[in-house]
Amino acid sequence: MALAFDEFGRPFIILKEQEQKTRLRGLDAQKANIASGKAVARILRTSLGPKGMDKMLQSPDGDVTITNDGATILEQMDVDNQIAKLMVELSRSQDYEIGDGTTGVVVMAGALLEQAEKLLERGIHPIRIAEGYEVASRIAFEHLERISHKFEFSATNIEPLVQTCMTTLSSKIVNRCKRSLAEIAVKAVLAVADLERKDVNLDLIKVEGKVGGKLEDTELIFGIVVDKDMSHPQMPKQIEDAKIAILTCPFEPPKPKTKHKVDIDTVEKFQTLRQQEQKYFDDMVQKCKDVGATLVICQWGFDDEANHLLMNRNLPAVRWVGGVELELIAIATGGRIVPRFQELTPEKLGRAGLVREKAFGTTKDRMIYIEHCANSRAVTIFIRGGNKMMIEETKRSIHDALCVARNLIRNNSIVYGGGSAEISCSIAVEAAADKYPGVEQYAIRGFADALDAIPMALAENSGLQPIETLSAVKSQQIKENNSCCGIDCNDVGTNDMREQNVFETLIGKQQQILLATQVVKMILKIDDVISPSDY
């Protein structure tokens, strides 16, 4: 096949070194792709829902990560297969866009692929399946819009937001103190949110972790925490009403970027240079003192001499503060980042009510808290926990919760969780399928079946009879015309998700369906896989 003939009958090669490449074509290619997509989904399936299990991942360097966050699992899995990589991308884009539901989207895509496989076997053309899925996803999308509820919250009434964040956190290992963590996440988001514009800049929330203590000690700090200590051990550990000079220039002699040389050839020159140098340090420190700063935060290091001069003039300083933190400090304290000593003016200083150094544990761990800032828009969530893996996992969970809270502020529509939205969509899609003439009808029905996969997995992970539970809930939804019936994962005794307070964001769910459909369409359209064979 890879050999063609030109008009003179001479052969020419289309695909170079064909023998050395493996090639899959037609139905085989599709089936192989579907199989690998399904394999990825199968790995994540058991992590879904509040009773989902965790995965332990060992990196090439031997570090251990324990997580049930879909995006993290896939990212660290070291996947080699091309289609599997697509699934990884899928989960990642859900993570970037929404931040939550990264497991659900992959499970959904896996279920769609499974249905597609059955349809392919019946001889339906892949493109027709893809089109059918497209139609079905639109129906589901609109249906979600219909069953969604607006819910009201304000800066004073944060309860609904907390409830939603708790739903997200309940599937993580931190669910022991989901209530307090959810409150922390919501308060943090509200602190930085611009409710007028419905915008939240998550960059203003810094999540900082320190091993030790217990999860309950996790706290929200209206200010910044920097993992640094004062540059000189004898500087004051606590500063009230601090005026902060934020510098990005080192307390060191200048280093012009152009290459230069200062030649010393006489004794006089040697001496002038020495005096210059001393004056230079003196000027730098004096400059900071003159503008009225009571704390210097610097991105770079200090020379010993400068350090002592700062100490001597009673000007506490922090060195080697990272760029991102520096920016946050600038935002929080309302100061300006000053790149040169000459440009230091009193207006550019930041203000904070309290700056203090705090020590932890038995080792020499100290951190600097900058609190009561002039502009309290930047906040820090400070996580404590038993071990490093726990902290990392808590960070990921908090990130998810933050994203959910942000999404709600952007768009306050919610759908009910526990698989209820999927079941409701499945019913709607199933009903709509009959209206479509042609082969697409089958694909649409397949889509409806695939939607059932999420509640099914939820039930399975919770130790319930999957088929029995699902059909019971489905019939209940139709009978009572109540789209809030879902899987009772926590054994509460009711399957009305409204009573259980299990919400998810509308945009999160919609995005899941759209993204999963898109990826599946892409996979279905591939009919030829050419890969170099092992070398």
Partner: protein
């Protein structure tokens, strides 16, 4: 059709039961490894490093043992990690936390085999841990207000901690050392202020606490060996050749004469600097960096004691003790705070000469000099003392105290058992298992001491059935004894940390149902 390879070469994947088994086995292996070191009659381990020289460490400190192991099993790594954190956070209980986590997993394995879902076990464990914590909270004693009693408490805690270590022979002596040292810190947890100097020779009994400060350095030649009413300048400055710091400066000369001139200027500069330092009116100068011969000579001429190359911790401590500040510039002598002490003298410990600062202003820092037969012994003694110091410094802040000798475990086990009886559903099995895991700790202590654990634990359990019992295992006499009378105490903070971290770790491992191991990164073969 066969599924194509999903993961990269050499990456492995273990699922469901197999994964759970792998992590159980790994975690339990680690727990069993350190199990024999638990308690006052615990045994030590020899660790031989793979590095050059195959240096040997003898220890029974859980964190030290685990830190030195090369472990491949991911679940085992979780345990090593919690032990490390326990070490950083409270300093002691590093073995207990691993043993407890291991026992929790051992019990969990049985439950999983009995077809109980891991999530049910986790929720049971959580309830049990909460209940156990509350049981401890009810029983704590807080003597913060009564200074005498508090000190006695500290003393007991120190003795209990030390009794499981190599120092147990002289535990009273060392407990006193540790308590004194920590009391001097006045509530700070910064153990850096306590310096431990190890000098081989003599016996452990010869170790002592020095109120002043000892610097393991020599006094420069020709300088006074003894200074009374010393004024000390603590500095961090270059005293070799004071380089020009302006970037790109270099010396370029065209004749030998000029070289000489510049050399003279350089010397002049140094002389000036030394003069400035001397102008502070000091008679002792301690620098963090090197002092070259030339300035040293100048100092000797001025009758100033110059000490070079003190390490950074030493400098910081010295500054703390003498109340001086660490200086790097010397232009304003009036604004630099000098340190003071009554007497500086050179003392001999064993073979070595050390510099001793006594009669210092601020008593925060102090020095403990450890003496012992061999470096291994000293290393272990240092670790033990460090544990004791850590626990004590934490106790000063959180003064709640519990009895020791397996008493807290029995108290917890009792209330957890009661909870199990009240709880309906499958969770009660997990709660019961938790209580069994707690009892495993006194059992191990008894086993390690060569006692009949089954008999003892049964007695202990009966004893604890009475309200307000103080019964625990008295390892020395090999029977059940009254812990309050025997003076065996433990810090509440340590026990709480053990309980919480162990439960957290067990929970984490239980939740795993799949292990994916990436291919190990290939190292460049440099051979």
């Amino acid at each position: 059709m066969a599924i194509e390879k999903l993961l990269k070469d050499e990456a492995t994947e273990e699922k469901g039961e197999r994964a759970r088994m792998a992590s159980f086995v790994g975690a339990m292996a680690i727990a069993d490894l350190v199990k024999t070191t638990l308690g006052p009659k615990g045994m030590d381990k020899i660790l031989q490093s793979t590095g050059r020289g195959h240096s040997v460490t003898v220890t029974n400190d859980g964190a030290t043992i685990l830190k030195s192991l090369h472990i491949d099993n991911p679940a085992a790594k979780v345990l090593v990690d919690i032990s490390k954190v326990q070490d950083d956070e409270v300093g002691d209980g590093t073995t207990s936390v691993v043993v407890l986590a291991g026992e929790l997993l051992r019990e969990a394995e049985k439950l999983v085999n009995a077809k109980i879902h891991p999530m049910t076990i986790i929720s049971g464990y959580r309830m049990a841990a909460e209940c156990a914590k509350n049981a401890l909270l009810e029983k704590v004693v807080d003597n913060k207000l009564d200074a005498e009693k508090f000190k006695a408490d500290l003393m007991k805690i120190a003795m209990t901690t030390l009794s499981s270590k190599i120092l147990s022979q002289d535990k009273e002596h060392f407990a006193k050392l540790a308590v004194d040292a920590v009391m001097r810190l006045k509530g700070s947890t910064n153990l850096e202020a306590i310096q431990i100097i190890k000098k081989p020779g003599g016996s452990l009994k010869d170790s002592f606490l020095d109120e002043g400060f000892i610097l393991d350095k020599k006094i420069g030649v020709g300088q006074p060996k003894r200074i009374e009413n010393a004024k000390i300048l603590v500095a961090n400055t270059a005293m070799d050749t004071d380089k020009v710091k302006i970037y790109g400066a270099r010396v370029r000369v065209d004749s030998m004469a000029k070289v000489a001139e510049i050399e003279v200027a350089e010397k002049e500069k140094m002389r000036e600097k030394v003069q400035k330092i001397i102008n502070h009116g000091i008679n002792c100068f301690v620098n963090r960096q090197l002092i070259y011969n030339f300035p040293e000579e100048l100092f000797a001429d001025a009758g100033v004691l110059a000490i070079e190359h003190a390490d950074f911790d030493g400098i910081e401590r010295l500054a703390l003790v003498t109340g001086g500040e660490i200086a790097s510039t010397f232009d304003n002598p009036e604004s630099v705070k000098l340190g003071h002490c009554k007497l500086i003298e050179e003392i001999m410990i064993g073979e070595d000469k050390l510099i001793h600062f006594s009669g210092v202003d601020m008593g925060q820092a102090c020095t403990i000099v450890l003496r012992g037969a061999s470096p291994h012994m000293l290393d272990e003694a240092e670790r033990s003392l460090h544990d004791a110091l850590c626990v004590l410094s934490q106790t000063v802040n959180d003064s709640r105290v519990l009895l020791g000798g397996g008493w807290p475990e029995m108290v917890m086990a009792k209330s957890v058992d009661e909870l199990a009886r009240k709880t309906p559903g499958k969770r009660s099995h997990a709660i019961e298992a938790f209580s069994r895991a707690l009892v495993a700790i006194p059992t191990t202590i008894a086993d390690n001491a060569g006692l009949d654990s089954a008999e003892l634990i049964a007695q202990l359990r009966a004893e604890h059935h009475k309200e307000g019992s103080n019964a625990g295992i008295d390892v020395i006499s090999g029977s059940v004894g009254d812990m309050a009378e025997l003076g065996i105490s433990e810090a509440f903070k340590v026990k709480q940390a053990v309980l919480l971290s162990a439960t957290e770790a067990a929970e984490m491992i239980l939740r795993v149902d799949e292990i994916i191991t990436c291919a190990p990164r290939r190292r460049e073969d440099r051979m």
